[in-house]
Point group: C2
Chain length 386, copies 2
Amino acid sequence: MKNFYYHIPTEVFFGKGQIENLAPKIGDYSKKVLLVYGGGSIKRTGLYEKVIEKLVSHGIAVFELGGVEPNPRIDTVRRGVKLCKSHEIGAVLSVGGGSTTDCAKLVAAGALYDGDPWELVLDNGKIKEALPIFTVVTIAATGSEMDRLAVISNMDTNEKLAVFSPYFHPKVSILDPEYTYTVPKIQTAAGTADIMSHVIERYFNPYEGAYLQNRIGDGLLKTCIHFGPIACEEPNNYDARANLLWTSTLAIDGVTWRGNEVGSSAHPMEHELSAYYDITHGIGLAILIPHWMRYILSEQTKPRFVEYAVNVWGVDSALPDDEIAKAGIERTHAFFESLGIPMRLSDLDIDETHFDEMAEKAEKRTKFSYVPLSKEDVKSIFKAAL
Amino acid sequence: MKNFYYHIPTEVFFGKGQIENLAPKIGDYSKKVLLVYGGGSIKRTGLYEKVIEKLVSHGIAVFELGGVEPNPRIDTVRRGVKLCKSHEIGAVLSVGGGSTTDCAKLVAAGALYDGDPWELVLDNGKIKEALPIFTVVTIAATGSEMDRLAVISNMDTNEKLAVFSPYFHPKVSILDPEYTYTVPKIQTAAGTADIMSHVIERYFNPYEGAYLQNRIGDGLLKTCIHFGPIACEEPNNYDARANLLWTSTLAIDGVTWRGNEVGSSAHPMEHELSAYYDITHGIGLAILIPHWMRYILSEQTKPRFVEYAVNVWGVDSALPDDEIAKAGIERTHAFFESLGIPMRLSDLDIDETHFDEMAEKAEKRTKFSYVPLSKEDVKSIFKAAL
């Protein structure tokens, strides 16, 4: 097991009606908050109105940054930063999914930074402070509500980059599974794939001593496999939504990778797809993961694939190892497909046009993953996924 | 899944050499620290000297509270409180196991309380603040290094009581698996049983919707089952010690019971054994748990026992449910026995003398457990364990 540092200061209020705790917590920090949200689904569901009412009745002035994109853009961050600076706003509240929260995080840091916020994306070390961040979560997917990560896109340069900062841990996150009832089936499926990818990309690591981490990973993955299909078919099933939501929060900055930290593989490849084609992150991941697995399966990596297939998918351990390993990969593919996810890049109108430049950018991170991937490796995986 | 609140502010430094982070962290809070430790094993291993050297070279004055008992006593807490008050000490550092940390926690609260610290044990709500608490862990067992719980004994009244406070979360905990190499075999076994009891007592809960929590519980229990015997046989096996240590920390105030919280059962019964006979906590638990399981197994509870046997022990799910459920219990008993734990109360020179009064006290808490246990139920379990 590798040495590690573990510190998750976020306060989580989980369950029905927990929104009651939001305004008093924000009020402890500021009487002016920037409300960050996406395309307006929170207006249709009534959550927008409810949040505003709670804040205002608590004496908190609300400023708004709406229209955050599914792959949040630096231009939107800049708008938020400007609002915070000109109105001397003291807190940032994200109501939405991971994109909204990621945008809120960078706004919170940008508000206390003198230069352009894109500089913080390019050099995370420049983030020395951030406004306090609060979240109300409306989809089980990224886990941004309890982690120190944000992913921001720059459409001018076709860049989608991960930003890490200890100042990005939200102060308080409200996780009410009922707020995820209205997530459409395909987004529920994509969110489930995103959660699973966060676990899987750490599960495949070279550290034999990090046994506990993968046993917890088994549990998180089994929960997705059990409840993903239920949530897709019964959107108002509380337990399915609750299990997926808490799994998503624990999957990324929780307990599955401290002690076995390894560079991501499918994520940097998917970030290139999103940066060029603005696709749904979880769908890109679901398409790439089985191909990535097939590509890296070797005599050396086989034991990890066997561990995965037997513990997560219940593949019969009496079979030959080759069969077990492949069965785990095929079960993964079939599961994503069963959720209704399109499983080929061509289904998303993606062709080979940008593969070369995308692979070149992805390589900067994939060369640090479990099985280091060169530009040519990444291209091969993209091509297999066409 | 039940509503819950999750907040674990403790900073954990895990792994070899992490002691380097201790003195600077304490120094951020105070230049005077109370060093709390037990029977002196840390002097034999050289850890005592190392800690003192780090603190002193960082300009921190060290005061000492040594001789903390395996079941820490209120008299010892009173000694520590007196030292803190008379020397205006601003931080408390536990170097040892759960007993030492539990004692340090109550000292930290008592130092900022005007009355006698036993009043805080009897009424946890009276704890309004505490000195900052730091820990260096030397045994994998209680998980006190990241939780909000302390257990304190009063030998005058034969009381051993749990104390809860949000102020008990340590600020910083140093978890170096190498410091647990010298834990004797029987204490390693008892610690493993203690960790497993923390998971098992939440695993058996009436909440069907809390699926994720039990899947994480499976992972923690499997880790104990895998590495407990290795640590007993190879005390210097780093990975075995590391996995047990991190499992112990996560098992009690981590992720296994948020959303399925249920009252303890074996713990309140064992606390009576320790309060009257001063036995090792984990050994008392290992003896009681299989008897408690046999006692509460019924048509109603059988599905949970089946879940436990199949997922944790790998019992063949094709067998009849009755056989599966019983096999899980017998595997639990056999496992504890295989670690060298004496499995009868009479092995510890405990007889029926105090069963009546012990059961009466235990009932105050066991009546809130998964299957509520009356005084007579507790007596029956004690008798079966003789």
